[in-house]
């Protein structure tokens, strides 16, 4: 133990205020590398990157008749940049929520199932600190997945279609660079929407020791929410559904930006994140760890 003692005392003391932040970042980094090195997650990300490419190829080979297919699809053949938006619309309905469900559902329940949760807590990682790291990592995964879709679609669009000035939904035409900035805004908005779903997944993950149960429950919630969102009889409840605002980023593609709807969406995402984050915190903070 003497060597460790010396090792611990070796370095100059860090400013006391910075130490906890740096150690938090180290834990966070370790969490990220766990997520992004996991073969299952890598396979998921590969599929997420492949689908926009596939979509681009299909559109190149057989452009759909006008008016059919998802939004933005018709513009793709004229401007490859629109492939990013078309791909996000396609991915945000099933694949991206599914990927988030897998990562968020696994986050705490996976550690409980493997028994590593008890080691993390006795190390000690701190329960609140652990939860914060877990949620931050889910957030990064959401961002990475959305960015991946956009980048894969963008590259495919550049390769297969003409690319140029972007005509917005309001009819205005803006330079390509500005158009890409709009795409980035859409990506960030979608990330926020997925993070809200991730927060629900995190809460579910704290309620069970079975990661598959948490994943499945979250997928059921997402699908039920999407179905409910399409039933017009209950339209009064639609704004409160977790997936309702996921695709409500049209306003970001107008000039000037019409933020009224996106603000509603962001408010809904924040509400979901706070409510389910609190549930996760209350649950994990008091839970008996018997796994």
């Amino acid at each position: 133990m003497s060597t460790a003692d010396q090792a611990v005392q070796a370095g100059p003391a860090r400013p006391a205020s910075l130490g906890p932040v740096l150690r938090w970042l180290r834990f966070f980094w370790s969490e990220l590398s766990l997520i992004f090195r996991r073969p299952r997650n890598l396979a998921m990300l590969a599929v997420i990157a492949a689908i926009p490419v596939l979509l681009g190829v299909v559109l190149k080979v057989s452009a759909p008749a006008a008016g059919n297919g998802p939004a933005f699809v018709n513009q793709v053949t004229q401007n490859g940049v629109f492939l990013t938006l078309a791909a996000l619309v396609v991915m945000l309905t099933v694949f991206l929520p599914l990927a988030v469900a897998v990562v968020a559902g696994d986050s705490v329940a996976g550690e409980a199932a493997s028994g590593t949760l008890r080691t993390l807590l006795t190390v000690p990682a701190g329960r609140t600190r652990l939860l914060l790291v877990k949620f931050s990592a889910v957030l990064v995964f959401c961002l990475a997945a959305c960015l991946l879709v956009a980048v894969a679609a963008l590259l495919t669009g550049f390769l297969l279609f003409p690319v140029g000035r972007v005509t917005l939904l309001s009819g205005t035409t803006i330079p390509l660079a500005d158009g890409l900035l709009r795409v980035l805004l859409v990506v960030l908005y979608a990330t926020a929407g997925l993070a809200a779903i991730g927060a629900i997944g995190l809460a579910l993950s704290c309620l069970t020791e079975h990661p598959l149960a948490a994943m499945a429950a979250l997928m059921v919630i997402v699908i039920a929410s999407e179905i409910a969102d399409s039933v017009s009889q209950i339209s009064a409840a639609h704004p409160y559904l977790p997936t309702h605002w996921l695709l409500s980023w049209d306003g970001l593609l107008r000039a000037p930006v019409d933020s009224a709807v996106t603000e509603h969406g962001l408010l809904s995402f924040a509400a979901y994140a706070v409510i389910f984050g609190s549930i996760a915190w209350a649950r994990l903070g008091a839970a008996d760890i018997t796994s």
Partner: protein, 374 residues
Amino acid sequence: MSRDEVGFGQGKPPDRDGSAVRWSAAAQQAGPLAERAVPRSGQAVPRSGQAGPWSGRSGPRAGQADLAIASRGLTKRFRRGQLAVDGINLAVPAGCVYGFLGPNGSGKTTTIRMLLGLIQPTDGGHQLLGSAMPAGLNAVLPRVGSLVEGPAFYRHLSGRANLARFDAADRTADRRTARARIDQALDRVGLLAAAGKHYRAYSLGMKQRLAIAVSLLQPRDLVILDEPTNGLDPQGTREVRALIRQIAADGVTVFVSSHLLAEVEQTCTHVGVMRTGRLVFQGTLAELRDQHAPRIVVRTSQPELAAKVLADLELAEVTSDDHQVSALLGDAAPEQVNATLVRAGVPVAALDTPRPSLEDLFVQLTGEGFDVDG
């Protein structure tokens, strides 16, 4: 076996103010054989004016000279109504190797989970290294290494990557020394050569040793190991035992649970014996051995007279019933006791000096079989 337990604060509700918890108090009344494990009076002597570990006035280090672990009436009833731990009063002196013995299902792991703040006791409380839990959990846990309920790791990571993960999670660990500390921990458990292998490729013995390595990532004052030799072959068991001795040699208090007496016997200075959630013996190993100090048993038609003779010979713990008298033999020679008895006119029908093994004693304390009354 009576419900009575050996320990301080017998039968009293946890009392957090004033009464000093001291090993000595517990040791004095560390009960002999289970059936005689009736607590003496006068335990848990309140020491007025002195801050006991429970007073709340003692600083984090204050209690350390005395007890590394002190619990009072620590109880866990699971939601299904199962009483897993029933009001135990642990007293683990700093610097000792404490064997926490008990058959499967007797509540060892549940106790350890409570000690480490993984689960909440339904009653009672405890201190680690002089700080009251769970308030001091975050401050104290960095000084406590632990292994709970067998090894648990990330299967797809190497041994070294697993240690790096847990070190990264430690809110007190310094990244700059991580590499050195991880290698040192691996070295201590003899896994340095296999550090790059995937955890799933490890043998059970390697997994157990890696789990012990986690508890050695930082300099510790207390190491709590839950059945570290469970499932190991004799060679692996020997290795772990040597490791425990090594850890203890650095002055670290070691609290190690086991369901095998033989394992504890060779490494521990103190033992606590659990039976269906209750602590039925606590004391030094020497005191446990004293339980099977040779007794003399005299079968006679006049037990009262025989008892008086044995008492006159200053033999300790004289007990008698209708047919026989028994006492601790101590230094007395059986033939001399016999001669004295005969001289005093006691008709000695038979005289025996039975010597139960430590193993017999353990079985006596804990009951036969697995989980019979759990």
